[in-house]
């Protein structure tokens, strides 16, 4: 293994630049170092002006998303030694398809607005009084949505999705997966409300199942699967409006399940 590796980091300072330029930094290669360690080394020892987000350094906070050689990756989950052989250069840029505030820091307010848009909170059919106790849920009911609840909002999926890049109004993989997380929760009855927001070209119909979002997701959320399942669900909902136009019954199954679970 080589002793050092060259990091080509995209630098952008709004006071100085009109667009990002690459600056090279030579960084020692330690066996257990990840890209985040290399960035910290540069900031501590070489160039203190390097700006980037990070926090937990263990793949749970979702802060350190960056492009490494054109691939969206978590800086804390990508080993430096994996790149030691490939011509000894690593290209580090801010996550694609987001506005860049400075260096590797992206502007996320649009993403956060999209998350909020899908109503990511429980909307129960009816709120039972506190005296009835807590909602009960079987392990099977948990399995129905657990995978989609693993999202850490790292936005790697947005950096991978070409539709996000082409259409800034597209709600995006993480937001739709989050909506499904609540739709599939047995305690929730808000599927129709969310579908009213998402059954649009900027919502689920904008997705063309490229599948890149699932491939790059560090927590194996499978947002592409969530979106396709939502499309099927939306078709069924639409079909029900044709057959029962006088009023949609909220999903009976969830209420029955919750009722029987509470009776146990």
């Amino acid at each position: 293994m080589a002793d050092t590796i060259i990091l080509e980091i995209a630098r952008y300072s709004p006071e100085r630049d009109r667009e990002p330029t690459f600056k090279s930094y030579e960084v020692p290669v330690h066996k257990d170092w990840v890209i985040l360690d290399a960035l910290n080394h540069v900031k501590d020892k070489v160039d203190g002006s390097l700006t980037y987000r990070w926090s937990c350094r263990m793949g749970i906070c979702g802060s350190c998303g960056i492009m490494v050689n054109g691939e969206p990756k978590l800086g804390c989950a990508t080993f430096l030694s994996s790149y030691a052989g490939t011509g000894n250069k690593v290209r580090v840029e801010a996550l694609r398809y987001f506005p860049v505030v400075r260096d590797l820091v992206t502007e996320l307010s649009d993403f956060l607005a999209k998350l909020k848009k899908v109503k990511p909170w429980l909307i129960p059919d009816n709120e039972p009084p506190l005296s009835e106790g807590e909602f009960l849920q079987t392990p099977e009911q948990l399995e129905n949505y657990k995978q989609f609840a693993m999202c850490i909002n790292c936005t790697l999926c947005y950096a991978a999705c070409p539709v996000v890049g082409l259409d800034s109004t597209f709600v995006g993989p993480a937001a739709i997966a989050l909506a499904q997380r609540y739709n599939k929760d047995s305690r929730d009855g808000g599927t129709q409300e969310r579908t009213a927001v998402l059954a649009h070209p900027e919502g689920i119909w904008g997705c063309t199942f490229v599948g890149e979002c699932t491939r790059v997701c560090p927590k194996h959320v499978d947002p592409a699967g969530a979106i396709q399942q939502y499309k099927v669900e939306a078709v069924l909902q639409w079909a029900r409006t044709l057959i029962l136009p006088w009023g949609q019954k909220k999903s009976q199954k969830t209420r029955e399940e919750a009722g029987s679970a509470a009776a146990d």
Binding site: L166, W205, V235, Q237
Partner: protein, 116 residues
Amino acid sequence: MRQSNEAPLWALFSAGGVVAAFLIPIHLFLFGLAFPLGWLGTPSYEHLMELVRSPLVKLYLLVLCSLPLFHWAHRFRYTLYDGLKVKHLNEVIFTLCYGGAVVGSVLAAYVLWSIK
């Protein structure tokens, strides 16, 4: 306005995709390669006509020639939006794609109906 149409359009796309996946390859292989190149003995005109006259086969052929066209229409429409970034032309593209699928389906129905 268009949002309420997307669900059934996607359903058509899916149905067409399933039909295309199962049936199109063998049709192309037989009539596009195996028979013209003599890999397999070409069926006689009489035998094919006997098959096509059957109402069940006509129904099968109608499904074969209509649903995959709607699959193409939906997929091609989105490929143009994303591939060529022409979403602003969506009225034209929508009409050409689904219009084309409707025309193809009507032609199929007409030809099949006129085979006695």
